[in-house]
Amino acid sequence: MSTVDASGEATARAARSRGPIPKSELAVAAVLGGLGVFALVDAHTINVPASASAVGPRAFPYAVGALLVLSAVGLVVALVRGDRGEVEGGEDVDTDGGADWASVLKLTGAFAALCVLVEPLGWLIAASVMFTGAAWTLGARPWWRALLVAVVLNTLVQVLFTQLLGVYLPAGPLEGVPFLG
């Protein structure tokens, strides 16, 4: 066991310090640092009422801003020392290869449709559009079967939430339909 261990770690270690730092990783650190600077600057503009005690509303934001800047610096140091961000694995995630931006854009579109449609057309229709779009993006075929699943699921949701749980969901043009509106 120990031999397997040692040799495995030896190669792992060699691999990790090789290669330049990816620009995207530096960009993440820069965003983090930028957020910290914003926090420090914006904290300065927070009003401090005369009634405030020893520690007013500014102190904690200052501390958070400082922590953000420090963690950005720490991240850069870690990057220089060879630390690399690993894409989080998962059962459905292929960690080899880059991100598929087209799918993400389609998913964003589906979600945007929900945001735009939920008030005029109600939950059932808007959420069904979103579900169908998202399922289609992820590979569900044919689209009408996804739509069928979406409508059944969201009808159940609409009935369960508005009738049984007493939570408001807009019905849109279906207002007045028994169990839905």
Binding site: S71, A78, F111, W123, M130, F131, L165, G166
Partner: protein
């Protein structure tokens, strides 16, 4: 003894038919969602939280207890059947349990996991009932500086324990703290970091952040890197549970409980660590060393017990100190807050009915798990036939539903998606999500206690460390930080060893297909990730022997 009668009163509440029904629904929902790979207990809780909005607190928490245990348990079923852990704490179960299932002992693996979870859960809940009130009594005497110290302890240990490196954990924590500051300062009524946007004036609801980071973030992450191909299911076969199995299982159950419960109570990043330590222990003590990595029942019994025991242990600091030690606990705390209940030393004296009903429902939830899960295994297996496009579209739908149901606000939906984008970025760049959630929830508590401390001391910062309790805690911070790095290294080495053995023994057998690609022999994502984590490990002890 007052606590005992309080517990009995709790049982009286929780056993009312209506509440029992909520417990059953919670266990069923929690298990069903927990069985789905890729959905851990934290996401399960975040997604199902909206269901409890219209319930009164007692019913909501009884259901929550069921969801919590059900979600934990669901993972073990998945890992045994699919060799892919439904949640991170089940990875060891995945390794040994799946080997057992492949060797035709799947039924015994499921049985020892279920019985072990029950035994450990029950013992740990007894321990919780005994320990929690005592700690609460002691904690009543703690002052503001002591709570600041506890918050710092939780921040640092969570940030250090979770994620591949402390730098990434602390970055995530800082982001969570930043989000927690957005909104109106509760003490002076001043707007902070709101950019003048009225939506941000009230701050960002914790539920939106949790659902965005976990559910929407995960959906985007999967959409961007979808892996194709089914994971062939292992049939449940073999004899259920023999005397021999019991003989080999009961000691690991008890040892797993003894390891898991204390680890759950300390801020060590949740249940995962306990399962690894239990596995290492069983491996060392077993008389069947040769079976390890090939399906040793001890390797399922111990870690599963540890997993469930630490699930109960996590509730000790949560209920008595209001201190969440991981993402799941943080979301539980958010649920308490949404009912205007602040977990902490006063909880046991202010809300005894609620808290004891919750504890009683943990006992009941354990029994329900045992009674429901083994007979329903066939149903859970069917859940796995859900096509992935529908699964992730459903996750998005329920995420949006949960957020929209709170305030019927489109702005909240937009915010949810933006936060989901951040959650996706964090996953893509290897930042752990849990520290952000803990920072978000504990941040406002820490700030309030900090300001109270300094108001009392009239601005003298030494007041923060002069309380003896706080001083001890700060020493513990240092010890815990060093200790956590040591434990992580130990775990990483165990990962590496287990991974190496798992790889060596994954020799494809049976007939091979002449055309195209046969069955996938790729290790599960989690295994890969753990192997990757080992690579990230900074300082290795080169000359330490084979013991981890």
């Amino acid at each position: 003894m007052g606590d005992l009668s309080a517990l009995m009163a709790g049982f009286e509440t929780a056993l009312q038919p209506e509440y029992l029904l909520f417990a059953v629904v919670g266990v069923l929902l929690g298990t069903a969602v927990g069985v789905l790979p890729g959905i851990g207990p934290a996401m399960t809780l975040a997604l199902l939280l909206p269901l409890t909005y219209s319930l009164e607190p007692t019913a909501a928490f009884i259901m929550f207890a069921g969801i919590y245990y059900g979600g934990m348990y669901g993972g073990s079923t998945t890992s045994i059947l699919l060799n892919t852990p439904g949640e991170s704490a089940s990875i060891i179960t995945a390794l040994e349990g799946n080997k057992m299932a492949k060797a035709g002992r799947g039924a015994a693996a499921l049985a020892t996991a279920a019985l072990g979870s029950f035994v450990a859960g029950t013992i740990a809940t007894v321990a919780l009932s005994l320990v929690a009130p005592t700690i609460a009594d002691l904690a009543v005497q703690l002052g503001p500086p002591d709570f600041v110290a506890l918050a710092v302890l939780a921040f640092l240990t969570v940030a250090a324990m979770l994620g591949s490196s402390p730098a990434r954990g602390i970055s995530s924590l800082a982001l969570g703290l930043f989000i927690s500051v957005i909104g109106t300062d509760s003490l002076t009524g001043q707007q902070r970091f709101t950019l003048g946007l009225p939506t941000l004036g009230d701050g960002i609801d914790i539920v939106i952040v949790a659902v965005g980071f976990f559910a929407v973030g995960e959906a985007l992450h999967v959409a961007s890197r979808l892996r194709r191909g089914p994971i062939p299911l292992v049939p449940i076969s073999g004899r259920w549970f023999t005397k021999q199995d019991f003989k080999r299982s009961w000691k690991p159950w008890l040892r797993g409980t003894a390891i898991g419960f204390p680890i759950g109570t300390i801020p060590a990043g949740g249940a995962e660590l306990g399962t690894f330590l239990s596995y290492a222990t069983e491996r060392k003590l077993s008389k069947h060393q040769e079976e390890f990595s090939h399906g040793a029942i001890e390797g399922v019994a111990g870690p599963e017990a540890a997993n469930n025991a630490s699930a109960a242990g996590v509730l000790v600091p949560l209920l008595t100190l209001g201190l969440p030690t991981g993402a799941t606990a943080a979301i539980m705390l958010a649920a308490f807050q949404s009912y205007g209940i602040a977990p902490g030393p006063q909880l046991f004296s202010d809300e005894p009915d609620l808290v004891w009903a919750l504890i009683a429902s943990l006992y009941i939830g354990n029994v329900l798990l045992l009674v429901l899960n083994l007979p329903l295994v066939g149903v859970w297996v069917k859940v796995l036939r859900l096509p992935r496009p529908y699964l992730y579209a459903g996750i998005l739908t329920f995420a949006a539903l949960g957020v929209y149901a709170v305030g019927a606000s489109v702005e909240d939906l937009v915010l949810l998606f933006i936060l989901g984008g951040i959650g996706w970025a964090m996953r893509s760049f290897g930042f752990p999500v849990a520290p952000a959630i803990v920072g978000l929830i504990l941040g406002p508590i820490a700030e309030e206690q900090l300001r109270r401390t300094l108001a009392i001391s009239q601005g003298d910062p030494t007041a923060l460390v002069t309380s003896p309790f706080a001083a001890v805690v700060y020493c513990l911070v240092v010890v815990a930080f060093i200790g956590s790095q040591w434990l992580k290294r130990r775990q990483a080495r165990l990962d590496a060893a287990v991974f190496a053995v798992a790889q060596a023994s994954t020799t494809p057998g049976g007939p091979t297909s002449p055309v195209g690609e046969g069955r996938p022999t790729v290790p599960s994502g989690k295994e890969r990730r753990d192997a990757a984590r080992t690579k990230n490990d900074e300082t290795n002890d080169w000359d330490s022997g084979g013991q981890w």
